[in-house]
Structures are given as structure tokens and as C-alpha cells.
Symmetry: C2
Subunit: 115 residues, 2 copies
Amino acid sequence: MKNEKKEQIWAFHNEIPAEQMPTWKSRRIKAYGDGMMLVENEFASGETAADHSHPHTQIMYIIEGKIETTVDGETRILGAGDAVYVRPDTVHGLRALEETRMLDIFSPMREDFLA
Amino acid sequence: MKNEKKEQIWAFHNEIPAEQMPTWKSRRIKAYGDGMMLVENEFASGETAADHSHPHTQIMYIIEGKIETTVDGETRILGAGDAVYVRPDTVHGLRALEETRMLDIFSPMREDFLA
């Protein structure tokens, strides 16, 4: 159920399966190579991603909707067009305040997402 | 006029200056560290980014609108939610078919954008 084609050039939204996540609506792995991975997530209002950390650098980007996110102990509300840079091994989590679509970009790629 | 704060955690759209580009409407450097950089572009319908290449890996992601893009000699039309993975040193360019907002994500970061 994953888009496991490393360095595949074209990624059309409708051709990429949505994985249902334990605490949020869906995740789609859109594109990746060794150096980075682009993932799109959909949250229903009130859904959460629990606090966690990983050695990968991460950028979050809000496409539409609104989230409350905590990064390294600081909490902010983000809307469409806002972004967050999460340094390696930094605790972060979020709660959707509305129906939200957002991107997670990881560097290097999340090998664990393809396991 | 650039968001030159490396590894800055919070990036609010309204606080980031838009740079007018030679052949398209605007570019905003949203977030970056050594390993990656997130850039948001706005194109008016008909505007273009000429064919070019660079040693950085790049992922393009369409937030809204529609583009025709050519990557390594192959041309496709992309809309909201579609993405493209551009390998290093691969020629790519695009033409907006509608008013379009899209993201460019680079790995490693584009030092040249901050020059």
C-alpha cells in the first residue's frame, strides 16, 4: 500500500494509495530518494500526532486547515502556508483544529516508513 | 528580502517577504537547514521557469493551479496534490497553465538562493 518507487519522477495524487494511520485520517508517501522524502497527511478536526522525535530533520507545511503544534516545548497555531523546521531528535507533535492537509518533508528519507 | 534564518523553527507565511522573480510572480524561502530547503512559488497563468539543472535533488509539489512541466525530456501536466522528483543535474522547467502556487524542496539547500 505504499509508493515504494524510489526516485520515481512522476507522482500523481490519484495514483498514490492513502494509508489509514492509527490516530489520523491518511498518509500518502509522494516522492523520495535517499536525501529526502515528501509525505502528505490528512487530519480530521481533533485528530493528533503524538509527541515523538527521530534523527531526521523535518519540515512541516500546512496546505489547508489549521493545527496546534508543539516543537521543543513551544506551542504555536499554524494555518495555510505556514511551515515549521524541526531539527533532528527534537520532540514534536500536533493536533488538528480543523480538517487539515499538510506535508511532512524529511531529510534523509524515512526508511522506517517503507518497512 | 530573504528569510535568511537557518534552522529557524517557525515560518509564518505573512512574515516572509515575497521576492519578485524575473519570469514569475514570487518566491518565498520558507525554511531551510544544510540538508534541505523549502521554497514556495506563485505563478500567474502563462508564466514560466526556463529549463535548467543543478546538482541538488528537487521535489516539486503543486498546492493549487496547474502546470505543464518537462523533466529529462518528458512533459506532463500536474495539478493540486501532484509531485515530481527531479534527480541531480536533470534538466527541468515549467509553464503555468493557470494561476498556480507550488513548492520546491531542495536537498541539499540552495546556498545560491541566499547569495
